[in-house]
């Protein structure tokens, strides 16, 4: 009986140990997924968002990006390299046009082509409503490149995959 009890306690300790290790030492994939979760959270806007929340989110969006991040979004004629401050500025302006905005990421495929570099392909879905009442419903396949800098994985390149070439 005592032996059985010891086995149960031992198993519990092992399970808790694994859980703690996973929680406090997340894998690189988990860290990358967190970047996308934060980006989606900070780009999204609930109706009636107050000024403090808006300022907090807009300021934080920039922190997710590298010193200069390259954008290639032909569908919106938006291409070039931008600093985190510029990205925050664009995000703030974009969010001002919308009364509500929701960004969600699906189908994340993460590969590591070389050490310290991650390439992520995913589906991004942007929904919401503009200030004039128009519905926003956009879906695109995106390719991100993230470079590891001091345990962080900031975005260094974002490209919208061109499925149909006119």
């Amino acid at each position: 009986m005592v032996r059985f009890k010891n086995i149960i306690v031992g198993a519990l300790v092992v399970v808790i140990g694994i859980g703690v290790t996973i929680y406090f030492f997340p894998s690189e994939e988990k860290k990358i997924k967190k970047q996308f979760r934060l980006l989606a959270e900070w780009v999204s806007k609930d109706p009636g968002e107050n000024t403090f929340t808006m300022a907090y989110k807009v300021r934080n969006i920039g922190t997710l990006f590298d010193g200069t991040c390259e954008f290639k979004i032909p569908v919106y004629s938006f291409s070039g390299s931008y600093t985190p401050e510029e990205i925050s500025g664009y995000a703030a302006r974009g969010r001002l046009f919308c009364s509500q905005l929701y960004l969600k990421f699906y189908d994340l495929v993460i590969v590591f082509p070389e050490k310290g570099v991650a390439k992520v392909t995913l589906t991004a879905k942007l929904t919401g409503k503009s200030n004039v009442g128009e519905y926003i419903d956009e879906t695109h396949e995106l390719e991100f490149v993230l470079k590891k800098i001091e345990k962080r994985w900031p975005f260094s390149k974002l490209e919208v995959v061109e499925v149909l070439k006119k």
Partner: protein, 166 residues
Amino acid sequence: MAVNKKVRQFFFPSFTPQFLIRVSVIALFAYLFFGHIFTPLLIQGHSMEPTYRDGGVNFCWKWRYLFSKPKRHEVVGVRFAGSKVMLLKRVIALEGERVEFRHGKLFVDEKEMDEPYVRYPCSWNLPPRQVEKDCVYVVGDNRNMPIENHVFGQASMKRIVGVPLW
């Protein structure tokens, strides 16, 4: 009484090993059939009207091009983002062909094509372009909109996922 028992047995079966095996086989078959052979799809948008209307339900036959390639005038599903979002378009030109629109008329290799599925008036003009290797040129049936607003163009064969069942 016997009928009553049979009905009860049908709706509330006993969890015998045979029953669990039957349920597992049906679940596996449904997963393979609806996930990899005939995927259900909900049509959103107006680009394929009047052939396919917004809100329509269909199935994508994914094995259609297992041993063949898409032919001209066939409607195909083009993987747009992730594994769940696809575009429904019609193949109008194959690899190596030159495609062009003149006052709404489709020309392939300088030859005017008959398109009975295009019912709405069209005035598109598109300079000639050659379809690259391993690609097809796809367009929607509804061309009663400015050419800039219609999503069409050259798609890689790798992105063709199948055809609508009807």
